[in-house]
Amino acid sequence: MRFLFKTSYLQDIRLARHGGHVFWYGLLVLAMLAAPWVVSEYWLAQLTFILIYSVVGLGLMLLSGFTGLFSLGHAAFLGVGAYTEAALVGAGLPFPLAMAAAGLVSAAVGVVVGLPALRVKGIYLAIATIAFGFIVVEVFARWESVTGGNAGKHVKPPELLGWSADSDLSFYFLCLVVAVVATLAILNLLRSPTGRAFVAIRDSEVSAQSLGIHLARYKTLSFAISAALAGVGGALYAHKLKFISPDQFDILQSIDLVLMIVVGGVGSVHGAFLGAIFLITMPQVIALAKDFLPPVVGQAPGLQGTVYGLVLIGFVLFEPLGLYGRWLKLRTYFQIFPFYRKGMFKRQKSFLKSDRLK
């Protein structure tokens, strides 16, 4: 058992709480650095996808998990970032500039969506973002001079001053750097007053407002940061796939993104990564399992959708804190070994929280 004696406020907001954190995350970084020489080329590509989805997931986690705003149209921001990157890199811009632009354009679009969204809340916001997602996909399909329409668009590899990240290895490290920077940025944001304001808004808008938090400003800010991260993720996604078309950014992708954070664990930074790992490895697991299933089930086209649905239902019903919550429970069990009680993480029964007046 480990006891933490906090003697200063700085200690309270330190990113690495204790030596264990330093050790394990250091080990993780080393493993990630060594990964290209250890794992096969195929799994390196999957790892790259996990990093890309983690960046997007971090953005969505900030919005949904920490600000309490729900977006079912986040793939649209991914698409805005991807197309911006494709267009700018295609015009010969070096990739750091293009990527920054992708983030900024996405953020700007995020603000535009966020503004009407401020007037509505809860479920209406989800509906507004769905509507927005459909409109953006249609714009991608029709604005052929920039996006190439439904035929899709090829994306050049990222370039900087004559150096080009066109190999899998260099691109992996590019994604790793972006993911690490994004994670640190989010962690830093969350321990700053801004991040605390987001969490306050999530927990209760009314009390946040009474504490002097400007709801509109912080909600828009959250939308903008979230969209920017999705845009940067989209830029990497475009480079990884080398070919983008509007149907990659439709409602199904948006639902996948939400699935990712729900399975990972809403309200935890780890959840974004665990969810990304789940989202990328799940199809592989299903493909492996197909061989062991009777052909009627194994070869059916609807298998993946069914499994996704069942997993989603399972997590919502039985593990609302997601994979990270499962890990927390396991860890707590061993930390306080003989004293773990069944109800420690039990969801509190609450009355139907009503948005209505009466």
Partner: protein, 292 residues
């Protein structure tokens, strides 16, 4: 002019379908304060059940119709009991995720039925491919059936909510669950009944839509257009759902005809975004504010 009338009628028929699905959404919203994203899939299940009863089992149209609606009603009640009830009282988004999951499973399972799930089917209805000529107007019977059936269903629902005990109880519990519970109304059982009712209405929508389009596993996508309909009408208002559906249907049909290609598919979403900016509570919605 004539053309405009034709467009309005075909838009209204499509709008009735949206309205019927939106009706289910509103019913569910009124009891559990959340949006069911599985409602399009319930409609799809209804259409497939009808198809199975009519073609595989060979029942006549009317018996198959009633059996399907009843079966879907029971299915809705069972669904509420098994997966919805355990998480009642959780934040609205939990239930949204749950219904998205249910939708995935329903679509996936139907696709997995060998030989049927991946095909598109036509529903053999007695009024298939007939037209009426009224003056210079050419009316498609399938569309007229949709409009008339929606009108009848609305009248039945209105009568039920107005005059029956269970209908009044549903109204009471939708206004204030706690107070209704104190008055001795079995709120939980009513929630189940409302899900059953919503599923039954969705099944009717599916059976009405089937002759116009086809029966296929992805027909539930239309449920995503019913959500704008519910918002336009004002979530929480039953007449609003039908009116919203009609608005969305007619706007969609008109923009498909008068505007360039591509606008038809996004017209409902443009309308709903405008509505959310201008009047978030919809046409019939009440203006409510949360107080501490």
């Amino acid at each position: 002019m004539l053309q405009a009338v034709q467009i309005v009628i075909s838009g209204a028929a499509q709008g009735c379908i949206y309205g019927l699905i939106a009706l289910g959404l509103v019913l569910i919203y009124k009891t559990t304060e959340t949006v069911s994203f599985a409602h399009g899939e319930l409609m799809m299940l209804g259409a497939f059940a009808g198809l199975g009863l009519m073609t595989l089992a060979g029942f006549p149209f009317w018996i198959a119709f009633l059996a399907t609606v009843l079966a879907m009603g029971v299915f809705g009640i069972a669904l509420e009991r098994v997966v919805i009830r355990p998480i009642l009282g959780q934040p609205a988004f939990t239930l949204v995720m749950l219904t998205i999951g249910i939708g995935y499973v329903a679509r996936g399972l139907v696709t997995m039925i060998p030989g049927i799930g991946t095909e598109t089917h036509t529903l053999p209805v007695p009024y298939k491919d007939q037209t009426w000529n009224v003056g210079a107007l050419v009316l498609n019977v399938e569309q007229m059936v949709v409009i008339v059936a929606t009108a009848i269903l609305c009248a039945v629902l209105y009568a039920m909510f107005r005059y029956t005990r269970v209908g009044v109880a549903m109204q009471a519990s939708s206004q204030n669950q706690l107070a209704a519970y104190y008055m001795g109304i079995p709120v939980r059982r009513l929630n189940g009944l409302v899900w059953g009712l919503a599923a039954a209405v969705a099944a009717v929508a599916g059976l009405l839509l089937a002759p116009i389009t086809f029966v296929y596993a992805n027909m539930g996508i239309i449920g995503l257009k019913a959500i704008p309909a519910a918002v336009v009408g004002g979530f929480g208002s039953l007449p609003g759902a039908i009116v919203g559906g009609l608005v969305i249907g007619i706007v969609e049909a008109a923009s498909g005809f008068y505007l360039p290609e591509g606008f038809k598919d996004i017209a409902p979403y443009v309308v709903v975004l405008l509505m959310l900016v201008i009047r978030p509570n919809g046409i019939f919605g009440e203006k409510l504010r949360k107080k501490v």
